[in-house]
Structures are given as C-alpha cells and as structure tokens.
Symmetry: none
Subunit: 108 residues, 2 copies
DNA sequence: ACCTTTCGTCGGCTTGCACTTACGTAGGTA
DNA sequence: TACCTACGTAAGTGCAAGCCGACGAAAGGT
C-alpha cells in the first residue's frame, strides 16, 4: 500500500506503467522512451515498480521484459473507494433533501 | 493529480483524511490525534491536503473546521481505473454506470 | 578464450520533504 | 486597551529520493 503510493507518485513511473500496460516491453525500449533520463535511472524506477508489485518481470537471455500487474492496484483502489463511496452517499442525502423540498413546495 | 498523489503518499495525511471523512473537525482536534508530531506540522499537512483539493476549510471565528472533499479523488481514481484487470472489468463498468447516473442527476 | 550486448547495482551528489522552534495574525473577552 | 485563544507561517535542520557515471554480471556470438 505505502510502497504502491510511493511508486506511483513519481511521474515517470506512472508513464512506465502506461507504456507496458497492454504489452510487455524490453527494459532498454522503456529507457529509450525517456531521453532526458539515463538508462540506470530508468532501471531503478523499474525496480521500485517491481518491488511495489506493480510490474511483472520475465527474462529472455540477458534481456528483461516488463508488463504491468493489475492486481497490484487492488489495495490502493480500495483506499480511494473509501472516500468515493462517501461522495455517493452524500449525493444521495442531497437528493433526498431536494425531494423533501419539492414535497414541501407542493403542500403550499 | 500530481498534487493529490503527493498529498496522499504521506501516511499521516491519509489518516487525517479518514479522520474528517464523516464529520468536520477542528484543526486543533485533528492535531490532538497525533501526539508524536507538533501542531504546526499538522497545520502544514492540512495545507497540503487543502491545496490538493482533498479538504474543505470552514472558518468559525478564530477556529477552522475541516472535512474531506470526495470530488478531489475523481482524477486519481480515473488513473487507477486504467490499470484495473480484465477480471474486474465488470466492477469497473458498474462503477462507471453509477457515475453516469450521478452525472445525469447533477444536470437536472 | 574474447568481445559485445543488455541490463542491474554502487557510490556520490543535489534537491526536496517532514519536522521543529519561534513568531505573526485574527477573532473573542475582561 | 490589553490579553488570551486558535490557528497559520517562516527559517533552519536532517534525511530520504532521484539522478548520474562507473562498474559488475550474465548470456550469446565469433
């Protein structure tokens, strides 16, 4: 949970997650998408994402292929749902209050 | 989006969000829930959360009351939805349908 | 055996964040 | 007016995170 949030707060790491969301990609190809950052830096980002459970790593010879691991998002999603659910409930209360207002107006 | 993630990555700030999820609370009462940290520190946390759009501030004299602002989570929630696996596609559609229903209600 | 490719790791540097104490501010009260 | 309460803000400190160049490891080709 904490590791997932720490991994996702870095913009380049979010971009990596989007890059390998649909198909797996070579570590080098991923690094090539970030010309303003060095390859070792991208390698460190990949490690953070992997340790957080957001990336899956597959080895083919000396090469490594990565893809996103959707299950890793479950916990953090549940956290955000805590607050989103309240919003739905609040809107329901709002609707009910509006309904009562309408009813009161009809009784005039 | 970036501000929301930066706000939420800090554990105490997540705890604050849970504290004022249902009722608004005085800044001092919130600070009292964190005996291991000073009051100015909590005040700074409140500012970060507020600037990220996750907290609503109401003033009553010299006192300030805070409560969570669920709408602030919309963007980050959409981001995590991108990565939700096919297994949970049904749940995602359910949530989106509920959101569309809510939007339709707001347009009245 | 030797070299190349592909990638991770290490040591260091710099920047940014959470934290503290000291101070400032705005509203209420005697 | 003077004072107290309930806050936020400012300045400084320590530590962790992101970055780089240099190095190391592992597999494959010649």
């Amino acid at each position: 949970m904490q590791a997932v949030l720490e991994a996702v707060v870095e913009p380049r790491r979010r971009e990596i997650l989007r890059l390998v969301r649909e198909h797996e990609m070579l570590a080098g190809s991923i690094a090539a998408h970030f010309p303003d950052v060095s390859r070792p830096t991208v390698s460190q980002h990949l490690r953070v994402l992997r340790d957080a459970g957001l990336l899956h790593e597959r080895r083919d010879g000396t090469r490594r292929l990565y893809r996103t691991r959707p299950e890793g998002f479950a916990e953090v999603r549940a956290f955000f749902d805590e607050f989103w659910g309240d919003r739905l409930q609040a809107l329901k209360r709002e609707a009910e209050r509006e309904q009562r207002r309408r009813d009161a107006g009809q009784n005039r």
